[in-house]
Subunit: 398 residues, 2 copies
C-alpha cells in the first residue's frame, strides 16, 4: 500500500495527532505521497471519530483529515506499546504529535528520548502555547488561538463583539506551520543526517498571520480594531450589497478606480473627495454609499461579469454550496474529490491545494478504520507474526 | 552575508514576489537561513514599499515581510536583464513569483523555460486562481480569496453581512501553502535531482482551510452560515461578555462542563437541557445567557485565572496591544523582535512561529533598501566587475 509517486514517496511518518491541527499537517504529507501511519488509542481512537457529520457511523470530519493514512492502534502507556513505538521510530523519518506539552516526556517518548534511538528523527509538535514559556501547560484550542493572538479583536464590525473566523483557522495555520517546519528540517537532515524538533504554538502561528496588524500597533501605537470588510490602507476594496447578496469590488489603486469610474459613469465619483487613494480611504463611507446605490440594483453575477470585462477585480461572496459547484474551483482545480470508503460508501473530501507539475498529489486511499492496518504494518515494519499480533490485541496493547 | 546556520542554510532562493502572499513564503525560507535574493523592478520596487505605516520613508509593512532577504533590482523585460536572471537560475535552488498567470511565460521565464537551464529548479507560484482553469487570468487579491472560497459567508453573526477575517488570511494561507509545496519538492529534488513546479491559488488554499465547513455541506446538504463565535458541534465553546471586555470559555466535552458546574455552582446549569453536549448545542442560547449573567459581573483576568486553576480552558480575547505585551507570547515565545534598519532605525517585527531545537530561526538582517545588494550579488554569483555593474545601472537594467 506504499505510494510510489508523489514528492514525499519513501518518507515514513508516525502520526500520533488528534482532531485538527496535527492531523491537517499529517494529511499534507500523506497527500504528497508519504507513508503516514496514524497511531490511535486501542478501542477509542482519535476523538474526531465521534465528530459530526457521521455517515454510516463514520465521521466525515475524521475521514477528510485522515485520508491517505494507514492506521494502527497502540497503547503507549504500556511498556510493550512504548517499545513497539520506539522500534517504529528507528525506521521512520518524522513523528507528529499534538498532546499537551509534557505528555510525551511523561511517556518517555519526548524528543530527547526519540533522538536517542534515531538521531535523524524529525519531531513535529503542535500545541496551544508551545513547549516553552509560562502558559505552556495550558490547554490550547482553536478558539483560544484566535482569541489570544488578537485575531478576533480585529475581525467583525464596529458594532459587533470580537468575532472568530468561520473555520478553525488557528488549527489550520498551526498545522500548516508544522508542515513547513518538518519539511525544512527534513531537507536539512537529508544533507546533514541530523534531525530536529519543530515546536509550533497555535497562538504564535496566528500572531505571525496577523503581520501588518501587529506592525501597525508596534510602529505607530495605534491599536487596529474591527472595521468590517474594508482594509486599513486602500479603498474601494470592500464588500457591497447587491440585489441578491453581496459582491466584492477591489480597486487597489488609482488606475483601477479610474476604470471603475469609466465603467459606471456615476458623476459623483468624479468628486475631489475620491481623487486619490488616501482621500478615498478618508471618505470610505460616502464612497460606499454611492457604489451601493448602483450595486443593490443589480444581481451579483451581472456585476461581476461587467466589472471583470472592464478589467476591474470583482468577485461574488460565495456561499458554500456555490463554491462546491463552481466550474473553476470544483472543476478545473479539483478542490473536491470523491473517494469510496469501505463503511461510509462514496464520500466527498476537500482536495489538496498544492498542485505540482511533475508529481501529482492524489487522494488514493480513504481514512483508516480503527486499527485497520495493525497486521499489515506490524508485519511489514517489525516482522511480527500473526500470532504475536493477535496476542498484542488480546493484551490490549494494540 | 550568507547565513551559516538554520535548517535551510546553503539554499538559494530567487524571490520575484510582491506585496504579501509570495513575500510571506520567501520570508519563511529566509528566516530558516536560506539566502533569499529579492528581485525588484529598477527605480520602483515592490508596490508594498509604498504601504503604510512608513517610518523615515521606509514601509514597516515591507520591512516585516522582507527581513533576512538580500535585494537587487533587475529589469526582466530587457534581454540583458532576462539573461542575468537565467544565469542566476543556473546556480539557485528555488524561484518564487506571484505574477498573474501568463506573465512569466510572456517574459520567456516560465517554468518550462527555467527548467531548460536548470532541470533541478523548484518553481513556486502564488496567484489568485492558479495557473489552470477558466478564472486563471483573473486578478486575485486577498479579499477575493476570502470571498470566493466561502470563508466570508461563514464568518460573522446571523444579523451581519458576510465578514472578512481581520488579517489578510488568504494571502497568508496561500504563502504558507507555497512554502509547504516548495519545501516538499526540494526534499524530493535532493533525492532525485529533478525539480518541480508548485502552483498555489489563494482560493484553493482557503477552500482547504475550510475543511469541516465544506464537508458538512458536501455530505449532508446543509449550508453552513454565520453563527457568531460558537462552533457547529460543541457547547459551551464560545465568547462571553465580561465586565471589561470578552472572555473565551471552551468546554469541549462533558468532563470539562462538569468542572465548570463544580466551579460556578449555578443551580440552573444542572438542568437536563444541559446534560449532554448535543443537548447543550441545542440549547446554546439559554446556556450562554446563564453563563453571561456570571461572566459580566467579573473582569476578564479574574475569570481566566479562576477557570484555569480549575482545569477549564479559558482565555482573554486580546486586543493587539495586550498581545504585544504578553509575557508568554512576546516574552518566552519571542514573537516580536527588534531590528536596526539603516534608514528606519530600530523597528519591531513579527517573530517566526516555527521554533526548531537544533537550528534556531533568526531575524539577522533588515529588509533591503531598493537595489542594496546589486554590487554584492552580481559579483558573488556572476563574477561581474564593478564597471560592468555600473554600466548595467546606467542602462536601466539594474
Amino acid at each position: 500500500m506504499n505510494n510510489k509517486t508523489g514528492v514525499l514517496s519513501g518518507v515514513r511518518v508516525l502520526d500520533l495527532t488528534r482532531v485538527l491541527a496535527g492531523p491537517y499537517c499529517g494529511m499534507m504529507l500523506a497527500d504528497f505521497g508519504a507513508d503516514v501511519i496514524k497511531i490511535e488509542l486501542p478501542g477509542k481512537g482519535d476523538d474526531a471519530r465521534a465528530n459530526a457529520p457521521q455517515i454510516n457511523g463514520e465521521s466525515a470530519y475524521f475521514m477528510n483529515l485522515n485520508r491517505n493514512k494507514r492506521g494502527i492502534t497502540l497503547n503507549l502507556k504500556s511498556e510493550q506499546g512504548r517499545n513497539i513505538f520506539l522500534k517504529m521510530v528507528r525506521n521512520s523519518d518524522i513523528v507528529l504529535e499534538n498532546y499537551r506539552p509534557g505528555v510525551m516526556e511523561k511517556l518517555g517518548l519526548g524528543y530527547e528520548d526519540l533522538r536517542k534511538v534515531n538521531p535523524a528523527i524529525i519531531y513535529g509538535a503542535v500545541s496551544g502555547f508551545g513547549h516553552t514559556g509560562p502558559y505552556s501547560r495550558r490547554a490550547g484550542y482553536d478558539i483560544i488561538g484566535q482569541a489570544m493572538s488578537g485575531l478576533m479583536s480585529t475581525t467583525g464590525w464596529p458594532d459587533t463583539p470580537p468575532t472568530r473566523t468561520g473555520t478553525a483557522i488557528a488549527d489550520v495555520v498551526g498545522g500548516m506551520s508544522c508542515a513547513i517546519g518538518v519539511l525544512a528540517a527534513y531537507a536539512n537532515r537529508l544533507k546533514t543526517g541530523v534531525g530536529d524538533k519543530v515546536d509550533i504554538a497555535l497562538v504564535d502561528a496566528m500572531v505571525s498571520s496577523l503581520e501588518i496588524i501587529n506592525i501597525i500597533y508596534l510602529n505607530t501605537g495605534r491599536i487596529p480594531t474591527r472595521i468590517g470588510n474594508r482594509y486599513e490602507a486602500i479603498y474601494p476594496y470592500d464588500s457591497f450589497q447587491a440585489q441578491d447578496g453581496y459582491v466584492i469590488i477591489a480597486c487597489g489603486n488609482d488606475k483601477l478606480f479610474g476604470l471603475l469610474k469609466q465603467t459606471l459613469k456615476i458623476s459623483e465619483l468624479e468628486d475631489a473627495r475620491f481623487s486619490t487613494n488616501i482621500a478615498r480611504v478618508t471618505h470610505h463611507a460616502e464612497l460606499k454609499a454611492i457604489l451601493e446605490r448602483w450595486t443593490c440594483e443589480h444581481p451579483i453575477d451581472q456585476i461581476v461579469e461587467l466589472l471583470l470585462a472592464a478589467g476591474i477585480p470583482a468577485a461574488p461572496i460565495n456561499t458554500i454550496d456555490r463554491v462546491t459547484k463552481d466550474p473553476h474551483i470544483a472543476g478545473a482545480r479539483e478542490m473536491f474529490v470523491d473517494i469510496e470508503h469501505p463503511v461510509a460508501g462514496k464520500i466527498t473530501m476537500t482536495g489538496n491545494q498544492v498542485k505540482f507539475s511533475n508529481n501529482k498529489t492524489s487522494i488514493r486511499m480513504p481514512a483508516p478504520t480503527l486499527g485497520q492496518h495493525n497486521h499489515e504494518i506490524l508485519k511489514e515494519l517489525l516482522n511480527y507474526s500473526d500470532a504475536e499480533i493477535e496476542q498484542l490485541i488480546n493484551d490490549g496493547i494494540l
